[in-house]
């Protein structure tokens, strides 16, 4: 079943390659159809997912390169189930909105997006380090092209930067993976985890993985590729980047760093917590000074991802579960904000906030929907962001991974003030006040296609905000298992 899910988008991509270039709507519907099928397949997995079971489910295991202990092994557990769902949920939305954002070389574009879906699904479902690495690298390529070909003015610079950064981290990780594979005699993740961190050099190994993932997250100070990549990418690319690709980093920290190197995790947790908190505050403060709406959202991403790292390295159940939920929340809310900015960009071909003003008056529906995404991102209770943030903060507050956790948490909580400052400023500059440019007078409110793109996201925002139980329930067993298996005291 998991193989089916992973390779369904690949089949779609191959099919698109066979279609004539001119039949654009057929291409578009094929891509959308396959991504929807993938979503349906993942829902089937979710329905059959046993929430009481801590271990991997739907496991598929085949030999691949047996002489090196490399296998083709897939599985899903409570840690990856929502990453799987988030991925299959976001891709159809990104494809759906592509019609407005992308206008040339559609065949290549849609094929690449589907390839990217395949690769990201592979990342979240692989249980073999080598297989994981292959998917990890593969996910890089389509995004590189999407920024480089369909991006904005500085696309070449942005795509190179994206590539160089991620590649630099990947090389380190590859070294570490190969080291593990050789010393452990296998690339099988479960077998390696079972060794319980008894490695000759677990600190350097931890760092090799951590840097690769920190770049992807991105964790301060490894973030500088993100604003450029986000700003230059076409809207659907930004959505996927924020919602799915960044999660690969956070997921990696949990799946590999915590599980493989429990001692080193404890050792480096204070550093990671502090970097996460710096990221929360730094991203927020820098976001405030942005004049380009998309860059502002990009920096808000850095701030929000800081909470996730804070939660992960609190090394307790609340922190980790909060982080996992916040990974979903961030994907939905920030993905939504990128869509919101994209709608305006398609109308006005600028993202300079100074040229807007009073847009709520011209586009009442758009203004209302945008406000909901802003509020979700601000962490307003009854919407999704608050639940994740609160659980993370509670976890961090009681963490035994760092001295004086209460004081550190107080710093992190100041992010609540800053997020209100920069996001409401963002909203005010674009939507409130008087119009600062005559071109705004011609703005037309959202059409049904655009509304249809954001309504599912809003549904999730309210659902998680009001009833997070099923999301937490599905993670419980696996997270508890992870924490106890690596000997981290549960609280």
């Amino acid at each position: 079943m998991l193989s089916f899910i992973i390779f369904l988008p690949l089949i779609g991509a191959l099919l698109i390659a066979l279609l004539p270039r001119a039949s654009t709507s057929l291409i578009r519907w094929t891509a959308l159809g396959f991504s929807l099928l993938t979503f349906v397949a993942s829902v089937v997995v979710l329905m059959d997912f046993n929430t009481t079971q801590a271990g991997y489910q739907f496991v598929e295991s085949y030999q691949w390169i047996p002489q090196y202990g490399i296998g083709y092994k897939l599985g899903v557990d409570g840690i990856s189930i929502w990453m799987l769902m988030l991925t299959t949920f976001i891709f159809p939305i990104a494809l759906w909105t592509s019609a407005g954002a992308v206008h040339d070389r559609l065949k290549e574009y849609y094929a690449l997006i589907l390839l990217m879906e395949m690769a990201t699904l592979g990342v979240f479902l692989s249980l073999d380090m080598f297989l994981f690495y292959v998917f990890w690298e593969f996910a890089l390529v389509p995004m590189y092209f999407i920024i480089g070909v369909w991006g904005g003015e500085r696309r070449i610079y942005a795509s190179m930067k994206f590539f160089v950064f991620t590649m630099a981290g990947s090389v380190l990780m590859l070294l570490a993976i190969v080291f593990l594979g050789i010393n452990g005699g296998t690339f099988d993740l479960q077998a390696l985890v079972a060794k319980n961190g008894q490695w000759a050099a677990s600190a350097p190994l931890f760092l090799a993985f951590a840097i690769a993932f920190a770049i992807k997250v991105p964790l301060f100070p490894f973030h500088s590729w993100l604003p450029d990549a986000h700003t230059e990418a076409p809207t659907p690319g930004s959505v996927i980047l924020a919602a799915v690709l960044l999660k690969m980093g956070a997921y990696g920290l949990i799946r590999f760093n915590l599980a493989l190197f429990p001692d080193a995790s404890r050792q480096f947790a204070p550093l990671m917590i502090v970097l996460g908190i710096v990221g929360i505050l730094y991203g927020a403060i820098v976001a405030f000074a942005q004049t380009d709406a998309k860059r502002l959202v990009a920096y808000s991403s850095i701030s929000h991802m800081g909470y996730i790292v804070l939660g992960i390295f609190s090394l307790n159940q609340l922190g980790l579960q909060g982080a996992l939920l916040q990974m979903v929340n961030h994907g939905i809310s920030t993905g939504g904000l990128f869509l919101i900015v994209g709608f305006l960009y398609e109308r006005r071909h600028t993202r300079e906030m100074a040229t807007f003003g009073g847009v709520w008056g011209k586009m009442p529906l758009y203004g209302t929907l945008a406000l909901l995404f802003v509020l979700s991102s601000v962490g307003l209770p009854a919407l999704n962001g608050f639940v994740g943030e609160f659980v993370i903060l509670q976890g961090a507050f009681q963490s035994t991974a760092i001295q004086y956790p209460q004081y550190w948490t107080a710093f992190a909580a100041c992010g609540m003030i800053l997020s209100a400052v920069y996001l409401l400023t963002f909203y005010q500059k674009i939507f409130l006040g008087e119009s600062r440019n005559a071109a705004n007078d011609k703005l037309i409110d959202l059409n049904w296609r655009e509304v249809a793109a954001v309504v599912p996201l809003l549904g999730v925002i309210f659902y998680i905000g009001l009833y997070s139980l099923p999301f937490f329930t599905a993670m419980n067993a696996s997270v508890a298992n992870l924490l106890s298996a690596v000997g981290i005291v549960m609280r």
Partner: protein, 648 residues
């Protein structure tokens, strides 16, 4: 039965959904009717619950309502959708929905003709629903939901006429300043859970009561953190700066924020958490002092304002100081008593001020939209210097205004007299400093409201707008009359020596002792109030004959400027904290992030590019060859490592 208990929340919630979904086709009257009736229905249910509760023996009056739906459930953190209906919450429900309902009815008239009439009532209903969540919640975290949602509603309603950027700015300021307090609140919640392992009121309070020692550090910390939240929401020093700006919203919104909802939340929260506060006398002293200071400072500022609503806004801050001081003195029931009487007379004063503004706008506008009030007008309809002589033009508004004013000033037998007297009496017993501050604040109160009454209603009209002012429509005056009746007689709720309200609340607020009437204190303060009122009349009776006349208080020189500019507190924030933040943000974004972190990375890249001619040739700009190189690179690297691994 559970549905009945939570129906007060569900009514306004469904009202807002109906209006949001179908409002476009419904027309003003129907929208207003749906919104108002929903709030009145909540009031009816609250009254029913109140009566039912009264029929029960005292020990059985509190009802825990658990919907059986978990909101957050992870690890050992369990927060259900649970509500606590007891004497305290039902009293708050009655105030919120009763006063709120009247404000809704009034708004139908006041907002008539506004292009976003529908949206206004959606927000208003959301406001009531949020406030009800706040007062009905059975845990700190669910209370925080309502707490933040009223913050959202204030943001939306203060900035309702958002095309004027000043209004939008005021809304944002309210939200951000509230958020500063909210961080304190949330840290308090984190500490409560870390300490007690639960967030439910009854469980937390049970565990606190089991602790015998007073002033244990953790309880002091919790109460101080929660108090930071109350300081934000109930506009105390140093976070009161958002409330005076909040009058940028339509006047009914000011009434709602200042009287029935929002700012009362902090008082309610401390009263609800009285078990914690009583266990932390050290915090109590700080609370009482902050309350006293706020009453004094805000009262002194109100003396010098010209804007009719701004006087009332600072008055609210000052009166909230009285309530906070009462809570700090341990007189929780008294605090709620003043909250109730204040809700009546302050809602009355704001709505009556709205009626005045409405009257003042007659000349320049045919009845209707107020949106552009601040711009394009030659005559500011809110500036009291432009008024005068409205007594004859708007007789009903005048009479109710006087009743509200006397209630505020604490003149017997009006409502404010009784509640303020109780607070002052408590202060006299326990804390001389706070007693002094409150005493001076009480004199200020009578003086500024006297000044306002004279400037608005007496003398001769000073502008054409005042000359042509006319009484408002019944839809607006009837709620005024109802509120005026309550402002006049609400003292009977808790007469000295009887203490009906206090006795009723006692089990929920840790007890209440009925105090005998202290003729000395009451007599002294009555004399002071009347003297201050007369003083204001004496000073202002001939002070303004035309709009441009100078305020007699201006003779105070620098002190007058200092008061008029609100002790320069907001100016200090603007010129220090806000400026610093801008500078830091700008530096980090434009210098540090671009030049520092990014520059380091790009510098390395440039270095590599310049020193390697081979690479430059390959960088031919074709994306395809980059891609090929990349894949090739991956393959080579992987192959190399695998090979070296095997070779070893």
């Amino acid at each position: 039965m559970q549905l009945l208990f939570i129906s007060p929340i569900l009514f306004p919630l469904s009202g807002l959904l109906i209006n949001a979904a179908f409002g476009k086709r419904m027309g003003e009257r129907l929208i207003g009717a749906v919104a108002s009736l929903m709030v009145l229905a909540s009031f009816a249910v609250s009254a029913y619950l109140f009566i039912q509760m009264g029929a029960l023996p005292e020990a059985q009056r509190a009802t825990a309502v658990d919907l059986g739906i978990p909101w957050i459930q992870v690890g050992n953190l369990h927060v259900p959708f649970g509500f606590l209906i007891d004497q305290l919450s039902v009293t708050m429900m009655l105030i919120v929905t009763g006063v709120g309902g009247l404000i809704h009815i009034y708004s139908i008239g006041y907002m008539h003709g506004d292009p976003r009439f529908q949206r206004f009532f959606v927000y208003m209903n959301l406001f009531i629903a949020s406030m009800l969540v706040l007062v009905m919640a059975d845990s700190f975290l669910l209370m925080f939901v309502g707490w933040e949602l009223v913050g959202l509603c204030s943001y939306l309603l203060i900035g309702f006429w958002f095309s004027n950027i000043k209004n939008a700015e005021a809304g944002r300021k309210a939200f951000v300043v509230n958020r500063i307090g909210d961080v304190g609140f949330i840290l308090g919640i984190l500490l409560i859970f870390a300490t007690f392992g639960t967030l439910t009121f009854t469980d937390v309070f049970g565990k606190v009561m089991a602790m015998s020692a007073l002033n244990s550090p953790v309880i002091v910390a919790i109460t101080l953190l929660l108090f930071i939240g109350a300081v934000g929401k109930s506009a105390q020093i140093p976070l009161f700066v958002w409330l005076p700006d909040a009058m940028a919203g339509p006047t009914p919104v000011s009434a709602l924020i200042h009287a029935a909802t929002m700012v009362t939340a902090g008082i309610y929260m401390m009263t609800r958490a009285h078990v914690l506060y009583t266990a932390a006398p050290a915090t109590q002293d700080i609370v009482a002092l902050i309350g006293g200071l706020t009453a004094f400072v805000a009262g002194s500022i109100a003396l010098t304002q010209y804007d009719i609503k701004k006087v009332l806004a600072y008055s609210t801050v000052s009166q909230l100081g009285f309530m906070v001081a009462a809570a700090g003195l341990g007189a929780y029931a008294t605090s709620i008593f003043h909250l109730a009487t204040h809700a009546f007379f302050k809602a009355l004063l704001f709505l009556a001020a709205g009626s005045v503004i409405h009257g003042m706008e007659h000349l320049s506008k045919s009845a209707g939209a107020h949106g552009g009030a601040a711009d394009g007008h030659a005559v500011d309809p809110q500036d009291m210097r432009n008024m005068g002589g409205l007594r004859a033009k708007m007789p009903i508004t005048f009479i109710v205004y006087v009743i509200g004013g006397l209630a505020l000033a604490g003149v017997p037998p009006f409502a404010g007299f009784f509640s303020k007297d109780e607070i002052v009496a408590a202060a006299m017993q326990h804390n001389p400093l706070v007693f002094g501050l409150l005493g001076i604040a009480a004199v200020f109160t009578a003086f500024y409201i006297g000044r306002q009454l004279v400037m608005v209603f007496f003398g001769k009209p000073r502008t054409g707008n005042a000359e042509h002012a006319a009484e408002s429509a019944p839809l607006m005056t009837i709620p005024l009359i109802v509120l005026a009746v309550f402002a006049a007689i609400a003292g009977v709720l808790n007469l000295p020596g009887v203490g009906t309200l206090g006795t009723w609340l006692a089990p929920a607020v840790g007890g209440y002792e009925v105090e005998a009437f202290q003729i000395g204190v009451a007599g002294l303060f009555t004399l002071l109030s009347v003297a201050a009122l007369l003083g204001a009349w004496y000073v202002y009776r001939n002070a303004f004959t035309k709009s441009s006349d100078v305020d007699p208080l201006a003779g105070l020189g620098p002190l007058y400027i200092f008061l008029k500019r609100a002790w320069l507190i907001d100016a200090l924030y603007q010129s220090v904290i806000v400026k610093l933040f801008y500078a830091a943000s700008s530096f980090l974004a434009r210098v540090f992030d671009v030049g520092g972190i990014d520059g380091l990375v790009n510098g390395t890249a440039v270095l590599v590019r310049n020193t390697s001619g081979v690479l430059r040739r390959i960088q031919n700009g074709l994306v395809r060859s980059y891609g090929m190189m990349m894949l090739l690179g991956v393959v080579v690297v992987v192959a190399y490592f695998l090979w070296s691994a095997v070779a070893r």
